[in-house]
Amino acid sequence: MQYELRYQVIEPKRQTYQNVIDRLGDQPASRYLEGTLDVEPRENFHYRPTWIQDRELYDPRYTALQLTDAYSFLDPRQYYYTPYVTNRAAAHDEFGKTLAYLEKRELLAKMPAQWRDLVASVVVPLRHFESGAQLITVNGARFAYGTSLEQCCTYAAFDRIGNAQMLSRVGIALANGTADVLTGAKSDWLEAAHLQPLRRLVEEIMIVDDWAEAVLAVDAVDQLLYPKLYAGLDEAALLGGAGAYSLVSQHFTSWFADQRKWLDALTNAWQSDPEHADANTAVLQQIEQTWGARAQEAVDTIDAAINARIGDQS
């Protein structure tokens, strides 16, 4: 007797979900596309928001920056829940390892006095800045139009909590497991002269109505602050006996590189939009002018505080 082994292909009735088929045709698509394209409701809203009568619950007019098709922007990192969580879990694991190493050898506490002062009174207080940026970004997550955009804001907002947490852990390690540095950092954030321009700026950004303007204003600060504070002090830290700071700062530098990916792609999408490109470019320029100058002012004050502690870095 003889068996003949044959396989039979059963063609699936459809390769993917309707939201993807509508745009890309019936072909297998990535999880990211399946969970992103046209997911946010667009019609049949029963109620208008009572607090802004001429808008829908989800409405593109919450910002001056418009996209003809909200999904012409897609996250270049293709983050949906699982890849985002996996990626960030790994990043914080890495950070945890760095910190465990530093704690075991008390490297943070053993840094030269001026570097300890710098971390305690300039770097750690920025956890409150991160917290402000979180509020602003989560506002973007609510009012952005289109899942692809809203998704990026949601994750960026969570990232801010993560960054604040990393800074807090550095503060706790610096104070040998006590909350002393954190308490001092809070009062520095509220009172120290070198942080007031930044605090004022963040609080003013919080009440900007246009969600995109607010997110970009925070980004204007980030673009100056992150390179200056983290990548910029790396060499000085290594040469100044504060290698611990360099080990910590690398994690913020790599987060910022990741943050840039979606923001650059988004700015690009706004500027190359088939219908709204010109209007968007004008708005972007105006945002850059308004907030860029303010950000520069706030970061300059911090820069002066850095130079006062560890000598001129420029």
């Binding site: 396989y7 292909v9 297998p28 990535s30 999880r31 990211y32 996250d75 270049p76 990192r77 293709q78 983050y79 890849p83």
Partner: protein, 96 residues
């Protein structure tokens, strides 16, 4: 020996999975003459002469950094020689 008049086919068989779909899409983009056959659990890619895989294209489709070494995880079988396998590019072709 006579000079072959047609270029011989090279081929790569990849596992069909969610992970490999962007990779296949990238190979399709870089090799316009590619023929793709779907078998259960397997995707057979064939092209005359050579198949090129560029790291940059794969990363674009994948949305993350990709090491050419990761190609090992996707491949089931192949026909041809790996004439190049460096950090940026993999080329499969017959070299004689």
């Amino acid at each position: 020996m006579s000079v072959p008049t047609t270029r011989r086919q090279v081929g790569i068989d990849l596992q069909e999975s969610e992970e490999n779909r962007p990779l296949i899409e990238a190979i399709r983009q870089d090799n316009p003459e590619l023929t793709i056959r779907h078998l259960p659990g397997l995707v057979k890619l064939q092209s005359a002469g050579q198949i090129v895989i560029n790291r940059e294209t794969v990363e674009e489709h994948l949305g993350r950094e990709w090491d050419t070494g990761e190609f090992q995880l996707a491949i089931v079988s192949y026909a041809g020689n790996f004439s190049e396998w460096d950090d940026d590019q993999i080329i499969v072709k017959w070299e004689h």
